[in-house]
Structures are given as C-alpha cells and as structure tokens.
C-alpha cells in the first residue's frame, strides 16, 4: 500500500523543550484524518514539519513517496495547506493575493475561487488587514482549495469561524472528499467537527501519535465498562485505561474491547454493561 504521508522517528525540540519524540505516522490515500491534541501538544509543529515549513531535528518524512524536503514541483502543486496563523502580506488586497498564488499553479481553478468568494461573501478588493479573522481564514481556505490539491492539510481551520461558517466549510470539504479521492489531514480541538467528516482519528500526546484508528472503530472499542461482580471475584479488565473498584463491581474505561474476555465473563455469569462514549470523552480518556 502506498502511503500519501509516511513519517518515521520524527523528533523536534524548541530550545530545551522537546515537542515531538520519535513520532511515526502513516496516512493512506482517501483518508480524512482528524488530528486531536491538547493545546501545546505540537499539532501545528507536526503539520509544519510535514510540509518542511519548520525544520526538524531528526526523522524521515515522505510525501507522495518523495522526501519531504525535496518535493518535485509537480507534487508541491498537489498540496493545499491552511496555516493556523495568517502571515500573508497584510497590505495586499484579496485579489492581489489570489493572483500572487495563482501564478504558481497550472491546475488553479478560477471558477472555484469566484464561487467560494461569492458564497462566503468576501470583498476581494479589500486588503487582508481590513478583513475580520474569520474572513481571513476563509480566504486562506480558498487559496488552499483553488489549485485542486490531492492532499489538504488544515491547521485548526475552523478556529475563528462562526458555527455557520464552520458547517459550510465542513460541507465544502465533504463535497471535495466525495467528488475526488483526496486526502485530508486537519488538526483541531473541536471534536464535533471531526466526528462528522473524519474517518480516522489520530491523537497526538507526549510527542507521539499515541492513538490512530478509524473513527467508528474507536467509538466501538473505546468504551466504558461496568462489571457487576463481587469484590472477592478479582476480575482484571484487559486494556484498562482507568478503573475503579466499587462494592457492587468494577467500573473502567478500556482502549479496546476484548471479545474473548467478554465471552469468558458470560461463562462465569458476570454481567458486563457496555456504554459507548462520545469522542470528546474518548479523547480525554486517552490523553489523561
């Protein structure tokens, strides 16, 4: 299987604080990956490192099968990136900025730009400095989508958008995902955005991708268990993340549901209640 993005042993530190500690990650074509992480976990650093925007200390990264810092122009044109903070030249008008970016791409779609600009009600004659943060974010998204990329990387894309804008943005991504076989990676700490559109969740914690799995699988396997048993029975729950022993049994959250163990419990006539959890709780449990 050829991976779109392949990371091995990525380390990166700022001054004396290490942010990424031997991180490995593989992303397959067509994936819509949500990257979750606490504030300061290094989500932006990771995404910037993938794109060679910030330097790394060690590790191997390949994108489209090419080394990340020697991408061919052809493959560069296949990437769309929306940074977290806007550092476009503030005195350029939106039109100027669009024209500036356009010259680099042969696949640039003017229709897409016009359509999104009118849909998102952006005054293209205004300067970047005169736009609200939400509008700037929309412009950045338009700039990333216009070259019709195969790999889209968003760094907190919805952070400064209002709920309606966020939903509209998600819709746009969904249309892209269903029309073409594109791969999307987006970092966020808003789990509800992710639950609608992602098919995979990655959790970045303590410098590593500590969890990477399908969203549905995650919801089915990271669950709350209540084991109705007596204290003397001494049952150990497999894959336990966090547990508590009560007088009427055990309570626990597992990272994976062990079917063999479940069958065993049934045999022993120990009742096990399984409660599914929302992604937000799952995230909190996995990074606790």
């Amino acid at each position: 299987m050829t991976c779109i993005v392949n990371v091995k042993g990525l380390t990166k530190s700022y001054k004396n604080q290490s942010v990424l500690k031997g991180l490995s990650w593989e992303i397959e074509p067509g994936d819509v990956v949500g990257l979750l992480g606490k504030n300061g976990a290094g989500k932006s650093t990771l995404l910037k490192s993938l794109l060679n925007i910030s330097d790394i200390d060690s590790g191997e990264i390949s994108i489209f099968g090419e080394q990340y810092n020697q991408l061919s122009s052809k493959n560069k044109a296949r990437i769309g990136y929306v940074p977290q903070e806007n550092d476009e030249i503030s005195w350029l008008s939106v039109n100027d900025l669009i024209n500036f970016r356009k010259q680099f791409y042969s696949t640039w779609s003017d229709e897409k730009v016009t359509e999104l600009i009118s849909r998102w009600e952006i005054d293209a004659t205004k300067k970047i400095a005169e736009l609200s943060p939400g509008q700037v974010q929309r412009v950045l998204i338009i700039l990333a989508l216009a070259p019709m990329p195969d790999l889209l990387i968003f760094d907190e894309p919805a952070a400064s958008l209002d709920p309606a804008g966020r939903r509209d943005f998600l819709k746009e991504i969904l249309t892209l995902v269903s029309d073409e076989n594109i791969t999307v990676i987006f970092s966020t700490h808003i789990t509800s955005d992710l639950e609608r559109i992602a098919n995979k969740v990655a959790i970045l914690d303590r410098g590593k991708i500590c969890y990477f799995n399908g969203l549905d699988v995650t919801k089915e396997s990271v669950v709350q268990l209540i084991v109705h048993c007596k204290k003397e029975q001494d049952i150990t729950i497999p894959y336990l993340l966090r547990g508590k022993v009560h007088s009427q049994g055990q309570y626990g959250v597992v990272s994976q549901l062990d079917q063999v163990w479940l069958a065993e419990m049934k045999e022993q006539a120990v009742e096990v209640t399984i409660n599914p959890m929302g992604l937000e709780d799952i995230f909190l449990e996995l990074t606790a």
Partner: protein
C-alpha cells in the same frame, strides 16, 4: 511577485519621473555637466528602486508558503532579474561611453548587494558608514582617486561581479535563515507608513537587541523618575507633563537621544579641532546629514506617536483634572509645541556650533537655514494638529508628505547654501511663505481649541 516588490505608487511615480527627467536631459542638454548630472540622477533613482525592492524582499523569501509553492525560487529569481533588467534601461542613456556604462552596472550590482546584505544582516549597515567616512582616511593616507581609473577597473571587474552576484542570488532565493531579525523587518514592512514606528513597540522586550533594550530602559527611566518624584512630593504633575509621559514610546526622540547626539557631535568637533583644518571639508556631508536626520526623525516620530496614542489620549482627556473647558487641548498643544521647540532649538544650536567649527556655512546661510527649518517646523506642526483633529485617518499620506517636504527642504537648503543668496528675511516671497505657515499654524491651533 512584481506587485509585492514594487507596491506603492508614490515611489514608483517618483522613480519614473526621475527617469523621465534623465531622458529629457539627455535629449536637451549638450554641455559638459550633462554626463555627471545624468549619472547622479539615474544612480539616485535606481538606488531608490533597489532599496525599495530590497526592503520588500524578505516578504517573499521568508514567506512561510514559499516551500510549498511550486517553482517558487525560480519564479522569484526570474522576477528579480526582470526588475534589475528594467532598471538598466535608463542607464543606456549614459552611452555611448561604454566604460562608464559598464562601471555603472558594476556599481549598481554592488549597491544591490550592500542593500540586500544590510536588510538581511544588520551588521552590514557598517558599509554605509564606511562609505560616508571613506574620504577621510583616503585624504589622510593621501590616496587620490582618479575617476577614470576607478571606472575602468569597475568595468573590467564586471564579469566577476556578475558571477558573484548570481551565486548570491541563487542563495538568496532559497535563504531562510536569520528568522528573528527578518520577522521584525516583515512586521515593519507589513504595516502602512503611518505605523512603522509604533509597530516596533509591539515587539516583545526580550526579542529586542541588547542595545534597544538598554535604549528603551534608559528612556523610560527618566519618565519613571518623573512619576516617582511626583508621587513622593506633594506637587502634582502638570497637565503637559502628564501628556508627555503618556506619549512616550521606545522610539521617542527623548532625553537620551539628545544626550547621545550631543556627545556624538562634541566628539566630532573635538576631532575636527585636533586634526588639520584642511581636512574639514571632508566632514561637510556628515555635519549636514546629522541635523537633517535629527529633525526628520524627531518630527515624524512625534507625529506617529501621537497618532497611535490617540485612543489612549482620548481616555486621558476624560480624567477629572481635564474637566475645565479646553484644558486638555491646551495641555496637548503645549506638549507638541514644547517638544518641537526643543528639537528646533537643538538643531539651531547644533548648526551654529558646527558652522563655527567647520566653517562650511557662513552667517547668512546659517540664518537662512534656520529660517527654512522654522517654516518646515511650523508646517509639520500644523499638519500634525490638523491630522489629529481629522475624523478620517490620513496618517499614511501625511507621513509621506512630511518625508517629501523634508527632502524638499534639505534640497532647497543645500541649493541655497551653495548659491550664496542674501538673507531670506528680506526676500518678499519668503516673507509670504513665513506668514502663510504662521497663518496655517494659527488656524490649526484655533481648530484644536474650538469645537468638541
């Protein structure tokens, strides 16, 4: 990319205008002075262009997206070569003197290298000072420069210079280093002309250079002392002092700036008194440049600061101590006049001292210069006040106007100094100009004190 590098119509128009004048001169003038004049004119306009492009360059080389955009560095290189190529067109006017033309290209490339180096590594600013001081050691060591030989050498060196520049250009388009410094430049380039100084106040203290930290600290220490003294004694700060304190920024032209300049000038004077008098003329560019620099920065800084402290001052104005009618406006006027008057007196004194020691200007020229500067001062104060009252934000054009007016004043002053005119006070036109500027000032003061 071109739009980014050449953004801003004012400078562009100015450069094209200079080129136009050069073409006109080439076609109309036929005497010996033509070549020299042409040379200076084209060099000036092209250097202005190169400086502008060099200042904008970090925006492109240190653009975060640069690594992601396909063929970015090649495109950037092409655009830079194109701009350079276009800038060479007016130099064709120097022809048919091929040696001068080739030397001119060499000089242009060297100038570009220095400009770019200066922007990317501030340490290279030393080149400019070396160039200004160049005549001194040369005169001391008795090296006489023959223009012809110099130009021939430069012309012959051209291939070497081109090769060197091309190597550096290839490095430059991929350069990503010195991030801290460049981000400051980008921050400055990213705001409009009206806010260039105030943006520097937003740089975190720890990120400033040691010199800037010391400078800011010593500057603010004076005002801290003022506030402490006022709290410790029963005497309250006057309204004017209060406004003065609130209008300080790390870049204010304050007490330490005066001290530093005075010390610098004194050292220069001492040096001049020690060395032989025949070298004095070599100091002339420097002693004319320094007062010009001080008055330029002193007035523009004040303007930018009061502009960006506007909302803060508005909050100050509702303090109980300003409840009396017009008391805030009067105190504010007091501050502006006081600040500019000190600046003006300092310059007048400085000019007097340097004129006495270096003898580069006589009494008439001195008085004339002082008068012209007075007019400049009156006009800038009126502009400051009018802009301050205006409902709309005219900050950018006004700063440009001030810079252009400033350059105009300098050019006029030097022209007058060399042409040996009579005392300007007796000149009818000047009297009218003086009266007009006084009227303008009184009008702006009047506006300041009325309405609201």
């Amino acid at each position: 990319m071109k739009t980014i590098l050449l953004h801003g119509w004012l400078v562009k128009v100015f450069i094209v205008l200079l080129w136009g004048i050069a073409i006109a001169m080439r076609l109309t003038m036929h005497d010996d002075t033509r070549d020299n004049l042409l040379f200076t004119l084209i060099a000036f306009s092209n250097f202005l262009l190169y400086l502008m492009v060099a200042m904008r360059l970090p925006l492109l080389t240190h653009n975060k997206m640069a690594v992601l955009l396909p063929d970015y560095s090649q495109k950037l290189k092409k655009v830079l070569l194109l701009v350079f190529g276009v800038s060479l067109l007016p130099t064709l006017l120097v022809l048919p003197d091929v040696v001068t033309w080739l030397a001119f290209i060499s000089i242009s490339i060297l100038a570009i290298l220095i400009f770019v180096a200066m922007i990317y590594q501030p340490i290279y600013q030393i080149f400019i000072w070396l160039l200004i001081l160049m005549p001194l050691p040369m005169a001391m060591l008795d090296i006489s420069l023959n223009k012809g030989i110099l130009f021939t050498t430069l012309a012959w060196l051209l291939p070497l210079i081109i090769w060197f520049a091309y190597v550096l250009l290839n490095k430059l388009v991929n350069y990503r280093g010195n991030h801290k410094h460049i981000s400051k430049i980008i921050a400055t380039m990213n705001v409009s002309m009206g806010n260039t100084l105030s943006i520097q106040d937003s740089i975190p203290f720890a990120n400033r250079t040691k010199l800037a930290q010391w400078w800011g600290n010593s500057h603010f220490n004076y005002y801290r002392k003022l506030i402490n003294d006022a709290t410790n004694s029963s005497q309250k700060l006057s309204n004017r002092k209060l406004i003065e304190i609130s209008c300080q920024s790390a870049n204010s032209f304050g007490v330490n700036a005066y001290v530093i300049w005075s010390v610098g000038i004194t050292l220069l004077c001492v040096l001049a008194l020690v060395i032989d008098e025949s070298y004095h003329h070599l100091f002339t560019p420097m002693v004319t440049l320094i007062p010009a620099l001080i008055i330029g920065t002193g007035s523009i800084t004040l303007f930018q600061i009061i502009q960006c402290k506007k909302s803060y001052l508005a909050r100050l104005a509702i303090l109980p101590r300003f409840k009396q009618h017009n008391s805030f406006s009067r105190a504010f006027l007091g501050y502006v006049f006081y600040n500019q008057a000190i600046l003006y007196c300092f310059i007048a004194m400085l000019l007097a001292v340097t004129a006495k020691i270096f003898g580069h200007i006589n009494v008439t020229v001195y008085l004339n210069s002082v008068l012209i500067l007075l007019v400049y001062c009156l006009v800038t104060i009126s502009m400051m006040l009018l802009t301050w009252r205006a409902a709309q934000n005219y900050c950018n054009p006004v700063v440009w106007l001030m810079i252009i007016g400033f350059i105009g004043t300098i050019v006029f002053t030097t022209h007058m100094a060399t042409s040996g005119m009579v005392l300007l006070v007796y000149n009818g036109i000047f009297q009218w100009i003086l009266i007009a500027s006084l009227l303008l000032l009184s009008f702006s003061v009047f506006r300041q004190l009325t309405d609201k």
